[in-house]
């Protein structure tokens, strides 16, 4: 299996040759592809072989090659998405793409941990997006072949042979800081109230008064997994804070510790040779923007730059990846 950027004609030929592909690219390019065994999401930002890049002229391609037993594409509505883990192969993995800002994006973010057989098989993926210059003018899409969706998830269910296993991992350079402990009274993509060190406060006012850098995410420690929730906006007039992923009541969050240099932190965290063993990875648009990753490489790890990452559930400001290993 391999991943790389290709021009439109090459991708068209791959599809016509019957290759099974997971694609990321600008909508205008994806609309010119023939029908076939492929899924895609719209995005013009990438971590390519040359480094972070913005392009509407190439498509990022992940090929499913001879290592797999079988693979099937499927689209899901809000009504059918809860069965995604039931549809997963017994030994294999599933790749999901969700359109940003859609109802199914929000539904997945809030409800996926409650899906039947949650995390019983590897589910990795990303949230499609658009150029930041097109916000408000275009909508993120997903594709299952030539079928285009604004409110459906698309999935490749991939079955592996018995001697192979898939494993999902995270690279999150953010640690919980040693500041206040923050809880929320309700689940949601926005919050007015928070409980800070046991005291109920208006969260927007708290952020403003404490001069919190909202480029740093909220970090939850989930049995040792650091799960980020990124700030979208602090509206001090409406006294409301919006997030790119939901906060959940009952979870204790802390603001992340500042990161001096994303690239050096990243490269010190990730083995230099990891890129060769990765089947699929994606990284967050916020890391791309805040760490100014355009033109910079991350240990030869490539993939789409996304509006959200999926490792069983929705994540923010995280690199997720999937490796396929021999079963010991």
């Amino acid at each position: 299996m391999k991943q790389a950027m290709f021009d439109l004609a090459t991708v068209q030929k791959k599809i016509e040759n019957g290759e099974k592909l997971i694609l990321a690219g600008d909508e205008e390019l994806l609309r010119q592809l023939p029908d076939g065994a492929w899924i895609a999401g719209t995005i013009p930002y990438f971590m390519s072989e040359k480094g972070g890049s913005f392009t509407k002229n190439e498509i990022y391609v992940t090929e499913l090659t001879n290592d797999i037993l079988s693979a099937q594409t499927k689209s899901y509505s809000i009504e059918t998405l809860p069965q995604i883990y039931l549809d997963a192969p017994k030994n294999g993995f599933s790749v999901i793409i969700l359109p940003a800002f859609s109802e199914i994006h929000k539904f997945f973010a809030l409800k996926s941990p409650s899906f039947e057989k949650f995390a019983n098989s590897p589910l990795i993926g990303w949230v499609s997006g658009i150029s930041l210059d097109d916000l408000g003018k275009a909508t993120p899409k997903t594709f299952k072949g030539i079928q285009t969706h604004e409110n459906e998830a698309v999935v490749f269910h991939v079955e592996l042979p018995p001697n192979k296993v898939a494993d999902i991992q995270l690279v999150n350079i953010f640690d919980q800081g040693n500041g206040d402990t923050i809880k929320f009274p309700e689940d949601g993509f926005s919050a007015q109230e928070a409980i800070v060190n046991g005291e109920r406060v208006n969260f927007a006012t708290y952020i403003e008064q404490n001069q919190i850098d909202i480029k740093l995410p909220l970090v939850a420690d989930v049995y040792g997994a650091h799960i980020n929730t990124s700030f979208q906006n602090v509206d001090t007039d409406a006294k409301r804070v919006d997030f790119y992923a939901p906060v959940f009541s009952g979870i204790e969050y802390k603001i992340a510790s500042p990161v001096a240099n994303y690239i050096s932190e990243f490269t010190s965290t990730v083995p230099a040779s990891l890129g060769e063993s990765i089947f699929f990875s994606c990284n967050c648009i916020l890391n791309y923007l805040y760490a100014d990753l355009e033109g910079k490489k991350l240990n030869d790890i490539t993939g789409p730059i996304t509006f959200g990452e999926v490792a069983y559930q929705l994540l923010n400001q995280t690199m997720t990846y999937l490796v396929i290993e021999d079963l010991n």
Partner: protein, 81 residues
């Protein structure tokens, strides 16, 4: 690998996050994270039993994975082998 029965007290301990566990599998971590929240929101014995059954089922179907094996040993001790 023999997965302990549902009456083993370690099931409840891990779901309630009563000690510091160093787990390896991301799937184990996120499943436990969701179960911990579920049991915080509803402390009935039935909810706990459902979580234990679900977690046991996850371990049974993924016990061939090295990281999951290591998590089982972390939770129940080396004697589980």
């Amino acid at each position: 690998m023999r997965i302990p029965g549902i009456n083993d007290p370690n099931w409840k301990n891990i779901i309630q996050n009563k000690a510091s566990y160093s787990l390896e599998s991301l799937a184990t971590k996120v499943i436990l994270g969701r179960m911990n929240l579920t049991c915080q929101n509803n402390s009935s014995p039935e909810v706990m039993q459902n979580c234990i059954s679900e977690l046991r089922s996850f371990f049974e179907s993924n016990a061939h994975l090295q990281k999951v094996q290591n998590d089982i040993k972390t939770i129940f001790g080396e004697g589980v082998l």
